[in-house]
Amino acid sequence: MLSTTFAALLPDRLPWYLAGPALGLLVVGFFLVTNQPLGASGAYVETYKTVTRKPGAATWRMFYFIGIPIGGFVGVMLKDDGFVRRAGYDALRNELPLGVTALIVLVGAVVMGYGARMAGGCTSGHGICGTAQRSPASWVATCTFMGAAVLMTLFIRIVSGGAI
């Protein structure tokens, strides 16, 4: 496996008690400057609108969309493993051919996107920003998707005989 790294400055996994508050402070900081929640699925929507030149697109959210992989790349490159070219989804590919894995991932992502748009937010929008605003709708959406995801994972585990 080919991997590239700048320097191993970050641990393999920053502990939750540092990463969690860091995310929380980013959310508060963004409210302090723009009075807006920091959500990712909305950024996808506005990126699509900006690229296809739809009227009323919030172009600045495309910049947020672009910022995520830039910061992510820096974070990845500061770890011991760094950038590792691979297919990903190891647990699925150990059990299934690549094409089937790709198809399952695609269907999962379409359902996830559809659901996020219907619910009006995803893990960042409802899960962190909405709950932090003490919005009842966001608490309901967050509890629902957490519960549904745990049940679906259990279902996949049973169907795959514990393999996935």
Binding site: S41, G72, L92, G113, S124
Partner: protein, 157 residues
């Protein structure tokens, strides 16, 4: 600096900060999310709890003292009543999340960490979000107003 430029710069910076933390906490890895949803590791639940635990009281306090934001007047939080769409949409989101093992922001980091299949996840997300948008337009309804991100956005493009 024009406000629209400031919004773009801020968007880029906060996006980068968010992506950096996701990568640092390994949230872009399928295994991290999968093990959490299998209830084998509780770090991500604790992480989300700590994120909410930090931002909720701070936002409450800032709202109470009518804090002025830098570019958008007084800080206002939005709170909506739950509807059926929050439940149905949330359930669909959760099912898709369990299958694809990553959510919208970490999928972008997954891709730049070298995992090629993440491109499929990202394309799928765009397709799914658009399907719902088109359906809403066809039914001449309104998109779900929520307090996550799809609320009345600043049109300061």
């Amino acid at each position: 600096m024009k406000t629209s430029t400031a919004y773009r710069v801020l968007g880029l910076l906060f996006g980068a900060g968010f992506g950096f933390v996701l990568a640092a906490a390994n949230l872009h890895e399928y295994d991290t999310i999968h093990n959490m949803l299998r209830l084998e590791e509780f770090d991500v639940f604790l992480l989300m709890g700590a994120a909410i635990g930090t931002s909720l009281p701070l936002l409450w306090w800032l709202e109470k003292r009518n804090t002025k934001t830098a570019f958008a007047g007084t800080l206002t939080l939005s709170r909506s009543k739950p509807t059926r769409q929050h439940v149905v949409g949330g359930a669909l989101f959760g099912i898709g999340w369990a299958v694809s093992g990553t959510c919208p922001a970490p999928a972008l980091v997954m891709l730049v960490s070298g995992a090629g299949l993440a491109i499929i996840t990202i394309v799928g997300l765009f397709v799914g979000l658009n399907l719902r948008d088109r359906q809403v337009a066809r039914l001449a309804g309104t998109a779900t107003a929520a307090d996550g991100e799809h609320r009345n956005l600043a049109r300061t493009s």
